[in-house]
């Protein structure tokens, strides 16, 4: 093996000095390395191509180099350099400190709260790489590092970039990926769906919760294809030990048809952040119908899968067509005209994008931090009354349960509460109202102007136009005509 003779600690490649070899296998080797220009810990991946065979190793190298060069951010190792195939092929990247997710799957089942936490980390990583037009397509516990900065995804040798040629090619005879986590569409040779990564996350969360992947570790083609005809409801019994909201999220992610999964990882993260508001469906409600219901689910599945879902043509369009909208409604004066106008604009945004989901948010002001829960005149927590008002505000939007959620935030500073919420959730677009200026607002800055200044998302600020807006408190709810 001439390769082994050449590759040794101390060898210098384009300024990278090889250190300890930390991995060696049939496809290549991985080395620690140093470089005078970089203070980061470095690894160098050097593929090994056996003469005349293993073209897949060459393709994996081409793909990983092409994709790594284009990815950045906290959820991938920083790319530092690469060598050409024709000379000495290598990819140098940051060595990411942390534990592989496989240390957790090895210890599975783990507590539900931990499963949720890992799910949130994975969803955040997917949100980031999918927005960079890349779908990983080989997510598995061995390809996820849980580091201080979140989940870091590694090994992009099977990845696909939405705007670049798929070097894997359409001529590949066999499905490529890791059997336990591979999505149904990948088994059929389709490498263009970002929902394939969402499926893999569902499979990993399932394994963390139950100690085995949803379809075990298939080693035959028919074993691999089992997932093509198994509706998620059939997998529900194994999840009987986890909270129903989490089971629903996992099973939705494992839907056979990509169109039945979350349209983006943003929606997945949103549900993981608000499990108590996840709408439970037949998927996870195994107690409601038992065996017959599952057979029913099995029979009803194909027609659902066949329905015509217009597919967006690019990842960018996907994000545009499935936004998470946050409606920030001030209900401190009841359902006043401004709150109604906010709803008019929310309805417009939702009408344009049928895959959008809505988070209805209102702030219940407390006077000082840590104050006891405010109580209304009837002695109930004020929180409950505000939640009722918020649901009433949204009622005429007629949104299905799984597309809407309600959040009463409590805080001293409305703008700060709204921003904290928006920063912890994958919000694409905030719709909120602005009141006419008053001397107090000029002094302190209005809530809307602070949200506009600080938000990372698009913000639509709605104002009551024309005459009639004054500094007077708006009329109470009793004087507002009922819209419905």
């Amino acid at each position: 093996m001439s390769e082994r003779k050449i590759l040794a600690p101390g060898l210098m490649i384009d300024g990278f000095t090889l250190g300890e070899r930390i991995f060696a296998g049939g496809m290549g080797s991985v080395w620690r390395a140093t470089h005078p220009d970089h203070t980061l810990p470095i690894i160098v991946k050097i593929p090994f191509f056996a003469p005349g065979e293993n073209v897949s190793a060459i393709i994996a190298f081409e793909i990983e180099e092409m994709i790594m060069k284009r990815l950045s951010g906290p959820h991938v190792p920083k790319f530092l350099g690469s060598g050409e195939l024709a000379d000495l092929p290598y990819i140098a990247m940051e060595f990411v400190e942390g534990d592989l997710l496989s240390t957790l799957t090895d210890a599975a089942p783990i507590p539900a709260a931990e499963v949720v936490r890992v799910g949130q980390l994975l969803a955040r990583a997917l949100i980031d790489i999918h927005r960079q037009q890349v779908v990983h397509l080989d997510l598995k516990p061995g390809n996820v590092i849980l580091s201080k900065r979140g989940a870091v995804l590694i090994d992009f040798g099977l990845a696909h970039h939405d705007k670049l040629p798929d070097l894997m090619g359409e001529e590949t005879a066999l499905p490529v990926g890791s059997a336990p986590y591979m999505s149904p569409e990948q088994i059929l040779g389709d490498r263009t769906h970002l929902e394939s990564d969402i499926y893999a996350v569902g499979a990993m969360l399932y394994e963390l919760a139950t100690a085995k992947p949803p379809f075990g570790i298939p080693n035959t083609r028919s074993g691999l294809k089992q997932r093509l005809k198994t509706p998620p409801a059939m997998l529900a019994p194994a999840l009987s030990g986890v909270p129903p909201g989490l089971a629903e999220v996992i099973l939705k992610s494992l839907s056979v048809d990509p169109a039945d999964r979350y349209p983006t990882a943003d929606h997945l993260l949103f549900d993981l952040n608000h499990l108590d508001q996840v709408a439970l469906t037949d998927r996870s409600q195994r107690n409601s119908g038992g065996f017959l219901a599952r057979i029913g689910a099995l029979l009803s599945r194909p027609s659902e899968a066949r329905r015509a879902t217009p597919r967006p043509t690019s990842f960018e369009q996907r994000f545009a067509s499935a936004p998470v909208i946050m409606a920030a409604v001030d209900l401190s004066h009841g359902a006043d005209p401004l709150a109604e106008l906010v709803r008019v604009h929310v309805r417009r945004v939702l009408a344009a994008e049928p895959r959008a989901r809505l988070a209805c948010v209102t702030v219940l002001k407390t006077k000082i931090i840590g104050e006891d829960k405010p109580i209304d005149e009837a002695g109930r927590p004020a929180y409950i009354g505000r939640l009722v008002a918020l649901k009433d505000w949204a009622r005429s939007l007629h949104l299905p349960e799984e597309k809407v959620s309600y959040h009463v935030l409590e805080g001293v500073d409305a703008a700060a509460s709204l921003m904290e919420y928006a920063n912890h959730n994958p919000i694409d677009h905030i719709v909120m109202g602005a009141r006419a200026s008053s001397s107090l607002r000029r002094h302190l800055g209005s809530v809307s102007s602070r949200v506009v200044a600080e938000a990372r998302s698009t913000v639509t600020v709605v104002r009551l136009g024309g005459v009639g807006e004054t500094d007077e408190p708006p009329p109470g709810p009793e004087s507002v005509p009922d819209e419905s």
Binding site: E62, M66, A86, K163, L164, P165, L167, G169, E171
Partner: protein, 244 residues
Amino acid sequence: MRLALLTDIHGNAEALGACLEHIAAVGVDGYVILGDIVGYGPDPGPVIDKVMELQSRGAVVLLGNHDEAIADGVAGMSELAAEAIHWTREQLSAEHKAFLAGLPLTHQVGNALFVHSSARDPGDWNYVIHRLHAVDCFDATDARRIFCGHTHRPILFHQLAGRPVEEFVPKPNAKVPFSRARRYLAVIGSVGQPRDHNPNACWALLEPDGLTLNRIAYDIDSTARKIAATRLPRWLGLRLYEGR
């Protein structure tokens, strides 16, 4: 070395002007014009003048089948194309005709080959549309990267040794990186008469490490109005709006 590749200008002065303006802003080291300078469009003379000026500044200019038909006749052409050639011939000076008649079929630099149609029998004007055409083209040359036009529909074929030819339709304005392990055959979209349902003019930026197909909006109204004012079939103007 950054090269601007332009093909199938087809007498469309507005589309060419918009591309050249964009190219000047982007900055390139040279130009390759891949043929079909005339035919279909209302400004064959002014377009040839512009191309001659580019040539005097070092541009490589190749022959296309419409350019050849000015002197050699319209055998094998569609009725629409032939009608446009007859009209175009009347608009050109002797100097224009001599310029077209003197153009070469191919140009090779290093491992890159430039040709109007296919590398296989370039003077036969074979279309490169399907993978099988790409296989024929790859087989006819040792060049690792081949650039052509002729179909007005951009597509990129690529092949890893010992593997089937793969195809990809480049996304507008997104650079496609080259892998040194692969051969490439890029069919560049048309400047003056796109037919891929995108009416914007196409020019390609060729860099050592990749290819970008740029799509440029231009004043189609003016071109269509000029066509309507000639004896050229009106359809030649209408099709520009739809890119077909």
